[in-house]
């Protein structure tokens, strides 16, 4: 407690202008920056998979299974930063028991459950079912037990059942697209519906969150595909990689357009909150917004991939470029979440002053904890890829 007060007394000396006395402490920190980031990765990876399954972009086939497993690995971790942020995590079951119908946050439990069970797990199950049956016959030990259990006793491997799996999987994917929109759109709505905070309160918020989620998910799958291929020492399908980069380009353009629209609208209308927001963007958010999010995370990737659409350099250069772009896009989108969550709390609702955010390394809201939540899904993904390798699949959908 003493340490906490010490930190607050320091923050008091850093106040610029006037803030309401209760606003000295930022209530939503790194954990709340991470949660939209992780669910965004899930939604984005899923959309990439659905591009192949529903929209029949065949070039993306090598990444279909990979994208689904990436989405699953990150979805397992998604709740954790949220629950660890609560002051009373053991009461979190209340969100399932008495969800408030007027609260956007209350949707969380149900949308998460629905997406995890009915969309992702089912789709993966339908896609892998036949392989599980076949693999259960040829493997030993843990894998054998797992495969036998997961088939749920449905052991048909004939053409008819394969066709049924296919149809059902397709149906689930189609259902999954609006579900993915809901999974991440509601997060945007959580911010967008707060009329008290002018930095958050915009109609475009759910849409911006959704498109930036798609950007981050696609970049993630691109990176994962490159890394996994390198680890397995297999040749990367350049057509696939180029197609992923192309879709990243298109969606990044839409994302950039939406965010620019939001800012231009603010600039033009210049209503009451504009004066403080102008100082916010030029001051405390200068590096994280202008440099990290816009220039580094959006303009540079757009320029490079855009250039590639006109002139395609050699495969080697493209691979290096895509790897670099994947990383900077992921960083840029992380900072987009940072700018929304932290930025929205840095200025006072009196529109007359700023408080400060002190980054900590240890503790539940620290950098170390964030690193854990980001590395854990990668470990889970490695485990999933060992358990259900997409490249060893015997049957793939039409």
């Amino acid at each position: 407690m003493e340490e906490h007060y010490q930190h607050l007394y320091e923050a008091l000396t850093q106040v610029d202008g006037y803030i309401y006395p209760n606003e000295i402490d930022l209530h939503w920190g790194l954990m709340i920056v991470l949660y939209p980031y992780i669910t965004g990765l899930v939604a984005g990876a899923f959309i990439l998979a659905s591009l192949e399954r529903v929209f029949n972009i065949k070039a993306l086939k090598p990444t279909y299974g990979l994208a689904l497993l990436t989405a699953l690995a990150f979805l397992f971790v998604a709740t954790l930063p949220l629950v660890s942020h609560l002051q009373h995590p053991f009461r979190s079951y209340e969100i399932f028991m008495t969800p408030n119908p007027t609260s956007a946050m209350a949707i969380f439990g149900f949308v998460y459950l629905w997406y995890l069970m009915v969309v992702l797990l089912l789709e993966i199950w339908f896609d892998y079912r036949r392989d599980f049956v076949i693999w259960s016959k040829t493997s030993t030990g843990f894998k054998k037990i797992f495969y036998k259990l997961i088939t749920l006793g449905i052991n048909e491997t004939d053409e008819k059942s394969a066709k049924l799996d296919d149809k059902l999987g397709y149906f689930v994917t189609v259902l999954g697209i609006p579900s993915a929109f809901l999974l991440h759109g509601y997060v945007g709505f959580i911010f967008g519906s707060i009329k008290a905070n002018p930095w958050w309160s915009t109609v475009l918020m759910p849409v911006i969150f959704l498109f930036s989620a798609m950007v981050s998910g696609i970049a993630l799958v691109m990176l994962v595909y490159m890394v996994v291929s390198w680890v397995r020492k297999v040749k990367i399908d350049m057509l696939c990689l180029d197609t992923i980069a192309k879709y990243l380009f298109y969606i990044l353009i839409i994302d950039f357009t939406l965010e620019s629209l939001d800012q231009i609208h603010r600039l033009y209308e210049a209503e009451e909150s504009f004066d403080i927001i102008k100082v916010l963007v030029g001051g405390k958010l200068n590096i994280t917004l202008i440099y990290m999010q816009v220039i580094f995370g959006t303009i540079i990737p757009l320029s490079i991939i855009g250039f590639f659409q006109i002139y395609k350099p050699s495969e080697k250069i493209r691979k290096i470029a895509y790897f670099f772009i994947g990383i900077i896009v992921l960083i840029g989108i992380f900072f987009m979440r940072w700018n929304v969550v932290i930025g929205g709390q840095l200025f006072s609702k009196s529109l007359s002053g700023f408080t400060s955010f002190k980054a900590v390394y240890s503790g539940m809201e620290g950098y170390l904890m964030s690193a854990v939540w980001l590395i854990l899904p990668l470990l889970i993904l490695t485990f999933l890829l060992w358990l259900m390798p997409p490249w060893k699949k015997v049957s793939t959908h039409e």
Binding site: L12, E23, W28, Q87, I95, T102, A104, K349, G353
Partner: protein, 259 residues
């Protein structure tokens, strides 16, 4: 023949379990509506007319910024002494001759507000007490994911301390900065109009100690109350009316500089 018997048994098994499950499902779905169906409607209608509707008036022409209200509130409601948690506080506005507005609230005004700008530079100065506005359309109540903050039947926005999960969404949703996270109980906290006092016929602590009667508490439904007379005799305003929160804290003498 044996398989037919097996099939029949399996069929009966599925039928009975389907019946049992759907029966339980239906029953459990009915249960919440059961409570609704009976007398709830009549009870509420009857009670609602008997409940008062609490509100507060703040006379900015009387407030001297002594800070006694903020201090008394902390004592009465066990709010941590540290200058980071306030259920109510007083702001000092100093409009300078060059048009600049300086707003300050050191320790919420406890100890008395002192002027930091030299007299020659001051165009005008005034004090504004702030507190939870107990909005009839409270954005905090709308935002709470579990129903831990609510509007009581007599119009007071309260927090259920045993139910709050500490997500801070209500704190983000409040446009007036009236809420804070209590470091001891680890739940959201705020002014309750001293609900434990007003339910016994006493005044809230801040009203009790105000030496200039700048705070007027009362029942908006009582035409004879001081509060209703205050509203009738003065041009009153609420804070941030454009947000349509239907705040029930009314200010007399609210100048346009007030944030």
């Amino acid at each position: 023949m044996g398989t037919e018997r097996i099939k029949k048994n399996r069929r009966t098994f599925f039928k009975t379990s389907a019946a049992l499950i759907s029966g339980t499902l239906l029953y459990s779905l009915m249960k919440p509506f059961e409570g609704l169906a009976q007398t709830k409607e009549e009870d509420i209608q009857e009670d609602k007319t008997n409940f008062p509707l609490w509100g507060m008036g703040v006379d900015l022409e009387s407030c001297i910024g002594c800070g006694k209200c903020a201090e008394a509130c902390k004592i009465e409601n066990n709010v941590p002494i540290e200058p980071f948690y306030f259920r109510t506080w007083v702001e000092q506005y100093t409009v300078k001759n060059n048009g600049e507005v300086k707003i300050e609230s050191p320790n919420g005004g406890i100890g008395g507000l002192k002027q930091s700008v030299p007299d020659e530079e001051i165009f005008k100065s005034f004090m504004v007490p702030k507190l939870c506005n107990h909005c009839t359309k409270a954005p905090c109540v709308q935002a709470c994911p579990v129903g831990a903050t609510f509007i009581s039947p007599d119009g007071v926005v309260l927090v259920d301390e045993t139910y709050c999960i500490g997500c801070s969404y209500c704190i983000q949703a409040c446009p007036y900065g009236a809420r804070y996270m209590n470091p001891v109980t680890k739940v959201a906290d705020k002014c309750t109009f001293c609900y434990h006092r007003i339910s016994k016929g006493l005044q809230p602590a801040c009203v009790e100690v105000c030496p200039t009667d700048a705070r007027i508490f009362g029942n908006l439904k009582d035409k004879k109350s001081d509060l209703v007379k205050f509203l009738q005799n003065n041009p009153t305003q609420v804070l941030k009316p454009h947000l349509n929160t239907h705040s029930r804290v009314f200010y007399n003498g609210l100048s346009s500089e007030v944030k």
